[in-house]
């Protein structure tokens, strides 16, 4: 059977580092990039005698995420210990949630070529991250840095509802958008603060029994996720085609070779011996807390996209870009409150504003002008006070200095001349000086019109209102 006769079945496990100030069970900073073991204390070092105390922000973030993914938020959830030995795991167990996680039975909608598709979310639970083992290049030893040990994570597990690599990528992107929108995660795959493992299996098309699955790790970009899944699907099909059996195992994506390879060495006799964490009483989340979190839930990317197309009449393309990040969408809406033509506003956003943000590397939060000022600039362009081209310069100046558009227009003398009398005088002067060209025009050589426009604009140092200049020229030339 060729690959096309097989149906891949994929589920993703997302690990999202939560944007808290302090670790999940102690007061150490979660800041990235410190000297090894700078952000450690007896608790996250797993010293004798230490006890965990839960960071309430972690619970808030978990509840918020659960509600956003339409999960059932459990009023009582239970902490467990997952026991295994590894140098980056200081206590010899990870505090996590096992059989009673905080959220269950959610969903996330993604776009596929066949239209919208619902991917079910099986569960969300909270847990602590491990530290980091690095190989010491200078000697035959490994080094252990526990700065990351105890950083809070959410693990979000999907049902095996994804059917190909593209769907998996769509799901992961949509999940990242949601988490970033909620303000619980920074969505950074490269630094590993947003990570994902993929469970992949294949079965003959039409079958209802899933094949043996493999867990893929080291998928730290959307591209790697896609490549790894596609490689793994064809590998599993090959194994079956050649009469073999797929082994359930963990496989690592090898970026350089573009293959997945078995991590058999780590597989030996894993028995995590989960049991309820005696140091932490069961976690209770009140109805009031769930209600409050539900009320405070922001509009999510998908809903916002739909609303931008309906409320503002924007094309889907514009709406998608404007809603990709919550601060941009918020700023757009603030401007739209002052300026009625949403499409024209969107053009300025997609063109000039995003170019400036990108070039200057400025975050939206550091913008120096207000939505009202941007609306004022667009109004001035509409009224002809300033040309569209000059308007771009004004925006650039606003971006850099934060000055009011009217002040910039005045200071730089960018205002257009819309005084009919003043333009008429210049038109008359130009026509008088170029009698020969006027003759040609009247004889039917209409192309010279452009020459007259150019001459008038040059005489007016570019500030003549182009519409008025055109109108007056046509009138004087007898058209």
């Amino acid at each position: 059977m060729p690959v096309s006769d097989f149906q891949p079945v994929i589920g993703l496990e997302v690990h999202a580092q939560l944007l808290t100030q302090s670790k999940i069970f102690c007061g150490c900073s979660t800041a990235f990039g410190a000297e090894p073991n700078r952000n450690t204390c007896p608790v996250c070092l797993g010293m004798p005698g230490v006890l965990p105390v839960l960071n309430q922000r972690v619970v808030e973030f978990a509840v918020r995420t659960g509600l956003a993914l339409e999960c059932t938020v459990k009023k009582t959830s239970v902490w467990s210990r997952k026991n295994y030995f590894y140098p980056d795991l200081p206590k010899g167990y990870q505090i996590t949630q096992y059989d009673q996680p905080i959220c269950e039975h959610g969903r996330l909608v993604i776009d596929t070529p066949q239209g919208e598709k619902v991917i079910r979310v099986r569960r969300i639970h909270m847990e602590e991250d491990a530290g980091k083992n690095v190989h010491d290049a200078s000697g035959g030893q490994s080094l252990v840095d526990l700065n990351r040990a105890g950083v809070p994570l959410l693990e979000i597990v999907s049902e095996p509802d994804l059917r190909d690599a593209d769907e998996a990528v769509e799901y992961l992107k949509a999940m990242r958008d949601v988490l970033v929108y909620l303000g619980v995660n920074d969505g950074n795959l490269e630094e590993g603060s947003f990570r994902c493992d993929a469970n992949v299996s294949v079965m003959p098309k039409g079958s209802s029994t899933y094949g043996q699955r493999c867990e893929l790790k080291n998928l730290n970009s959307f591209r790697f996720l896609k490549q790894a899944i596609e490689y793994e699907i064809s590998r599993q099909v090959d194994v079956i085609e050649s009469g073999g059996k797929v082994d359930q195992e963990t496989r690592l994506w090898d970026v350089n070779k573009g293959v997945t390879r078995s991590m058999r060495s780590k597989e030996e006799a894993h028995d995590y011996r989960y049991f309820p964490e005696p140091d932490l009483p069961p976690l209770h989340v009140s109805d009031a807390a769930i209600d409050a979190a539900a009320k405070a839930l922001p509009e999510l990317p998908r809903a916002k996209l739909t609303r931008f197309t309906s409320q503002y009449g924007l094309p889907a393309y514009d709406a998608r870009i404007l809603t990709a990040e919550r601060p941009l969408a918020d700023f757009f809406e603030a401007c739209a409150a002052h300026y009625a033509d949403a499409k024209k506003l969107s053009n300025w956003f997609l063109g000039e504003l995003m170019r400036l943000l990108k070039e200057e590397g400025t975050p939206l939060s550091a913008l120096r002008f207000t939505p009202a000022q941007l609306a004022e600039l667009l109004g001035a362009v509409d009224k002809g006070t300033v040309s569209a081209n000059a308007g771009k310069d004004v925006l650039g100046e606003m971006f850099r200095t934060g000055k009011a558009p009217a002040d910039i227009i005045a200071e730089k003398g960018l205002a257009q001349v819309s005084d009919t009398g003043a333009i008429e005088a210049v038109v008359d002067d130009i026509l008088a000086k170029n009698a020969g060209e006027v003759e040609k025009y009247r004889a039917g050589k209409k192309q010279v019109f452009g020459f007259f426009v150019g001459q008038v604009m040059r005489a007016m140092k570019g500030k003549g209102n182009p519409t008025l200049v055109n109108d007056l020229l046509k009138k004087k030339l007898g058209d």
Partner: protein, 488 residues
């Protein structure tokens, strides 16, 4: 009469009156330790300098009329399970040899803040696993009442030091009886508070859902005073109860008239030492004379408590002791090649036989395929044991029983027979499974002069009443005045 013969409260009164200084009292303890500890071997290490510095600071406060607490200046000892910043802490284990903690346990901080000089660290069964102190990796502690016998365990160093009057009081921990059983075997008072009453932060964990620290002293009044200093809610311990601390001494002399005291028939069993039973029965009659009503009660699941305990405690311990891997602290097998050997050799050499036995048992009880049959089932039976007590405490104010089925046994007698050693906890561990407070108060001696203890169990957070009940009996006998002979 020596200074070390005073009770904590007597010494506190003299300190308050300026009749003696804390430095004098501390020096008296240090001198007493020099004299008798070579025979008793209660101490793993003495912090002479630290204790004297604290004593002089206390004297300065007393002189300024500014004592930090009623017990300011009273020297005490600590079981070596409490982390002490800058002072080696080993939990009686080779694997922690040389470990110098970077922080104080909450209760250690509280004692320091209250001005008590901390004289040193007391021997214990390794990681608190044992009932005789014989599993300590360092030394054998001897019972001051008969040096050939055990002082009990696991807080045997604490009980021996208090009984030998090397310190005025001590802190121990109790997971299945480790405060009460050694107290009973040494004619001292030991209280295991309600689970969550006293912070566990900074105490080396044995079984997290059972462990609880508590005072060990010569008198009930001293226990009340010491408990007063450590019974606090601790924001660093998520299982610490946010319950107000009553004045434990206020009603100490209130007597037992009108109280209903339960006598559980399951606590008077075959195989129990007849002299122990006789002493306890005599104490029960005494309570009746003092105006209490004895009520025959039943705790029907008592016979399952030992099995339940010996699944739950080792399971939790197997996980709690996973951190001893020779990577961040403690001993490491030096010749280990590769990571796997580092773990397996470090732990093989660092742990003693009893600890290994329990790690093995606990690992097995949690492992795939056995969890439901062992660990989960034990947790369910634990519920039944708790419910037994809940029912009984609807009818009675407290429950009375022997603390230990036998008096102090000979050192070496049970080391090779884990099951018979485990039986030593049969009366004490149900209380830990139920999370209840329990204390042991001296109730006489066998003909051979070995102490016998009476156990009083109560409702959650009812420590004040337990102390009052124990005090009513103590007042009639004053067994605590009798000095231990320090002979073998």
């Amino acid at each position: 009469m020596q200074l070390t013969d005073l009770t904590m409260l007597e010494l506190a009164a003299k300190l308050a009156a300026g009749a003696v200084s804390s430095e004098e009292a501390t020096r008296a303890c240090l001198e007493r330790i020099r004299q008798v500890d070579p025979k008793v071997r209660a101490f793993l290490r003495v912090d002479e300098e630290g204790a004297l510095v604290a004593a002089r600071a206390s004297d300065a406060r007393r002189k300024a009329g500014n004592p930090a607490s009623p017990l300011d200046g009273v020297p005490v000892g600590l079981k070596d399970i409490f982390l002490t910043e800058g002072v080696e802490t080993t939990a009686g284990s080779r694997i922690l040899e040389g470990f110098v903690p970077p922080y104080d346990a909450t209760v250690v901080r509280l004692l320091k803040e209250a001005g008590l000089p901390l004289v040193g660290k007391l021997n214990m069964d390794e990681f608190a696993m044992g009932s005789s102190n014989e599993s300590s990796a360092y030394s054998l502690t001897h019972n001051p009442w008969d040096l050939t016998r055990t002082p009990g365990g696991s807080s045997g160093g604490s009980s021996a030091a208090v009984a030998a009057r090397e310190v005025f009081g001590a802190l121990g921990t109790d997971t299945g009886g480790s405060i009460r059983q050694p107290a009973a075997l040494t004619n001292t008072v030991g209280l295991k508070p309600t689970y969550g009453r006293v912070s566990r932060f900074g105490i080396i964990a044995f079984a997290s859902s059972l462990d609880q620290p508590g005072p060990m002293t010569r008198t009930v009044g001293d226990t009340a005073a010491l408990l007063q200093l450590i019974a606090r809610h601790d924001p660093q311990d998520a299982t610490s109860a946010a319950v107000e601390t009553p004045d434990y001494s206020a009603d100490l002399e209130g007597g037992v008239r009108g109280l209903r005291l339960g006598v559980p028939r399951e606590y008077f069993i075959e195989g129990m030492d007849p002299e122990v039973e006789a002493s306890v029965r005599e104490a029960l009659r005494e309570y009746e004379r003092l105006g209490a009503t004895l009520v025959d009660v039943s705790l029907p699941h008592t016979k399952y408590a030992l099995a339940t305990y010996y699944l739950i405690a080792p399971a939790e311990a197997s996980s709690n002791l996973a951190r001893y891997d020779g990577i961040r602290y403690g001993q490491r097998a030096k010749d280990a090649r590769g990571l796997k050997e580092l773990y397996a050799q470090t732990r093989e050499r660092g742990f003693g036989p009893e600890v290994k036995r329990r790690i093995m048992l606990g690992t097995y009880a949690l492992s795939a395929g056995y969890y439901d049959a062992y660990y989960l089932r034990a947790q369910k039976v634990r519920t039944l044991i708790r419910e037994d007590f809940t029912k009984v405490f609807k009818d009675v104010d407290a429950v009375l029983s022997p603390t230990s089925p036998v008096p102090a046994f000979k050192l070496g007698e049970k080391v090779d027979d884990p099951l018979s050693m485990y039986l030593m906890d049969v009366f004490t561990l149900p209380c830990n499974l139920a999370g209840l407070p329990g204390l042991s108060v001296p109730c006489g001696f066998t003909k051979a002069g070995l102490p016998v203890g009476l156990q009083v169990l109560g409702r959650p957070f009812d420590e004040a009443r337990l102390l009052r009940i124990a005090r009513a009996y103590e007042r009639e006998h004053d067994f605590f005045l009798r000095p231990a002979p320090l002979r073998g």
